[in-house]
């Protein structure tokens, strides 16, 4: 019995010391981590619709459902300079969920897209988010597209990424949903 108590005490002591050190490190880093996360959002947003600041709006109050055509709408933010809205949405790609920010101008045309998080196959679907030429060209196609956006094989203007039809279709669909959601804002 005495031995068990001693062992428990040692284990507890080591856990406590570790937790204490981690608390200290967390105290030192958490502000920076929050700042990094905020910067990331602003960076993604300003890439699709340039503005100094974005104000999140309550889209449920405006009568927009949380999910349209299998695309979940996470956030809608209004650009401070009144040039339009940024819609952040999550939907399933070929391998897992994709989170994407879509800029929609006040003329209801897409001003740009930026993929925030994804787990698509490297070299195929992941090209949609890549900073290489193939990704930049793919995303540039969406600029200026309106409500009727579709892939070429469905009669639209968007070239699918080679070998990644599922990802391309999902992204195109989400852009269409984002435009629809903003149009519902009126």
């Amino acid at each position: 019995m005495k031995k068990i108590l001693k062992l428990t005490f040692i284990l507890f002591l080591i856990c406590a010391v570790t937790a204490g050190i981690l608390g200290g490190i967390n105290e030192l880093t958490y502000r920076r981590i929050e700042e990094q996360n905020r910067l990331k959002t602003v960076k993604a947003y300003s890439a699709v619709l340039p503005a100094d600041d974005y104000e999140e709006i309550d889209f449920a109050a405006a009568g927009i459902p949380a999910s349209i055509d299998k695309v979940t709408i996470d956030k809608i933010s209004k650009a401070a300079n009144g040039s339009g809205y940024v819609v952040e949405s999550t939907f399933s790609g070929a391998q897992g969920n994709i989170t994407m920010a879509v800029g929609v101008g006040s003329d209801l045309r897409c001003t740009g897209i930026s993929i925030i998080k994804h787990s698509e196959t490297s070299g195929l679907g992941a090209n949609a988010a890549s900073t290489a030429e193939v990704g930049v060209n793919f995303r540039a196609q969406f600029v200026g597209e309106g409500a009727g956006i579709a892939l070429k094989k469905a009669g639209g203007n968007i070239d699918a990424l080679s070998g990644a039809t599922i990802t391309s279709t999902a992204v195109t669909n989400a852009v269409a949903v984002s435009i629809k959601a903003v149009s519902m804002l009126g």
């Binding site: 856990c15 570790t18 937790a19 958490y30 299998k70 399933s92 070929a94 391998q95 969920n97 599922i166």
Partner: protein, 195 residues
């Protein structure tokens, strides 16, 4: 709700199979797959522990760590919960269900360091799953693991009778055939539940 659960299950078993697409739990996958019997035992033990661990870790995270602002201790807390859980399950089975213990017993200690178990509880937190979603993801993730390891064990039993370059003996040939299985699972990608 139901479609959500079905799509999580489908994802965990087929589309994002823990082994073939996320590479979680490769060590026991390669270590315990030389016979179909052992593979089934290991698979069952993993399903059991992953389901339980998902449930308990969700409760620990939502009601203890997050309210206290200790989310940075998640990794540490989860691995301790899993280690303790495995110990308790082992003791409980030994006393109360000896038949199950004799089937699963030897695999249980190995599960503590199975990254699929820690992986599933971390992914639950990352994906903001609710309690039910977490448990479903845990159990179906385990089923996906079991499917993979049983399929692979039957492939391995046949490898023994085939000719391959001498230097591929052992692990290398297993890895290559596991790769081919992973390729087959690629066929499930893009499947989605309508609703």
């Amino acid at each position: 709700m139901l479609t959500n659960i079905i799509s999580i299950s489908l994802g965990a078993i087929l589309i994002n199979n823990f082994i073939f697409s996320q590479f979680l739990g490769c060590c026991p996958f390669l270590g315990c797959s030389s016979k179909v019997d052992t593979a089934t035992g290991m698979g069952l033990a993993v399903v059991f522990v992953m389901g339980l661990a998902s449930a308990i870790c969700w409760v620990v995270d939502t009601y203890i760590l997050v309210p206290l602002g200790l989310a940075f201790l998640e990794t540490l807390a989860f691995i301790l919960v899993i280690a303790a859980l495995v110990q308790f399950v082992e003791m409980f089975l030994k006393k109360s269900v000896p038949s199950l213990y004799s089937a699963l017993g030897i695999y249980l200690p190995l599960i503590t360091t199975n990254c699929a178990v820690l992986g599933v509880v971390l992914l639950n937190v990352q994906n903001h799953y609710s309690f039910i979603e977490s448990v479903v993801y845990g159990i179906t993730g385990g089923i996906g693991f079991m499917l993979a390891i049983v399929l692979f064990a039957s492939v391995r039993e046949r490898i023994q009778f085939s000719d391959y370059p001498e230097c591929f003996e052992g692990f290398p040939i297993c890895l290559v055939s596991a790769g081919l299985l992973a390729l087959a699972f690629m066929g499930f990608s893009g499947m989605s539940v309508f609703g």
